[in-house]
Subunit: 118 residues, 2 copies
DNA sequence: CAGTATCCGTTGCGATACTG
DNA sequence: CAGTATCGCAACGGATACTG
């Protein structure tokens, strides 16, 4: 697993919850996964979908997601280079979580502007 | 909102997802919320439920959750001091997310030991 | 196109000790 | 009991420039 900001195995029932978010925290991971729900994407496509991400961070986050088995990375030996990223079955199994997050966000964060009604 | 590690308003549809996890990242927030699903807890009770958390971090995380409107903090003017933490309606609305996380964790992380089957 | 390399500020977070 | 104060370091993550 990729480093793991979140410690695991330190609490009885909350442990699974902790470990699960541990995989999707990191500044860009959740959005990346969310976009991949719609299908395979190339490096540059993800960059365009997430304008503020730098190549360094995008590579970093993609590698961690790959290490954790959530996405697959396919390199095509062509010029110019082409690399496809897609959800693995494990990553796809995250869909309910991602959708729950999306539903919650849409419902409770103002669509534009302030985060929530407090 | 509490600082916000996760930037918002920088991507079109993934934005809500990002903002939503932004509220539950932080090393201990998700477990705290998860435990609060079962009902009101006192400071010391949370400490006991999450053995590895230091008072400093627990206070920190609780304050951020409070700032974000996810939990309520009730101080009783008694000796010895007593402070209750409980989910706000907004926090309670996170239940589907927390449950999705829990379900995923239980299903895909070995119950004891290694994180996932890869 | 799909990355790497380097530099460097910021923040997260643990340890420890003290207090109303 | 429920915190606060101070210290310190490592990880996170942005900017910029370079490459197969």
């Amino acid at each position: 697993m990729a480093k793991a900001r979140h410690s695991r195995f330190d609490c009885a029932p909350g442990c699974a919850v902790e470990a699960a978010i541990g995989l999707i925290d990191g500044k860009w991971k959740s959005i990346i996964l969310y976009h991949l729900l719609d299908g395979t994407l190339r490096f540059g496509e993800i960059r365009r979908l997430i304008p503020n991400v730098t190549p360094r961070m995008l590579t970093n986050q993609l590698r961690e997601l790959e290490e954790d088995g959530l996405i697959t990375r396919t390199v095509f030996a062509v010029v110019p280079p082409r690399v496809d990223y897609a959800l693995s079955p494990l990553g796809r199994s995250m869909e309910p979580v991602l959708q729950a997050l999306k539903v919650w966000g849409d419902a409770h964060l103002g669509l534009y502007g302030k985060p929530h009604a407090a």
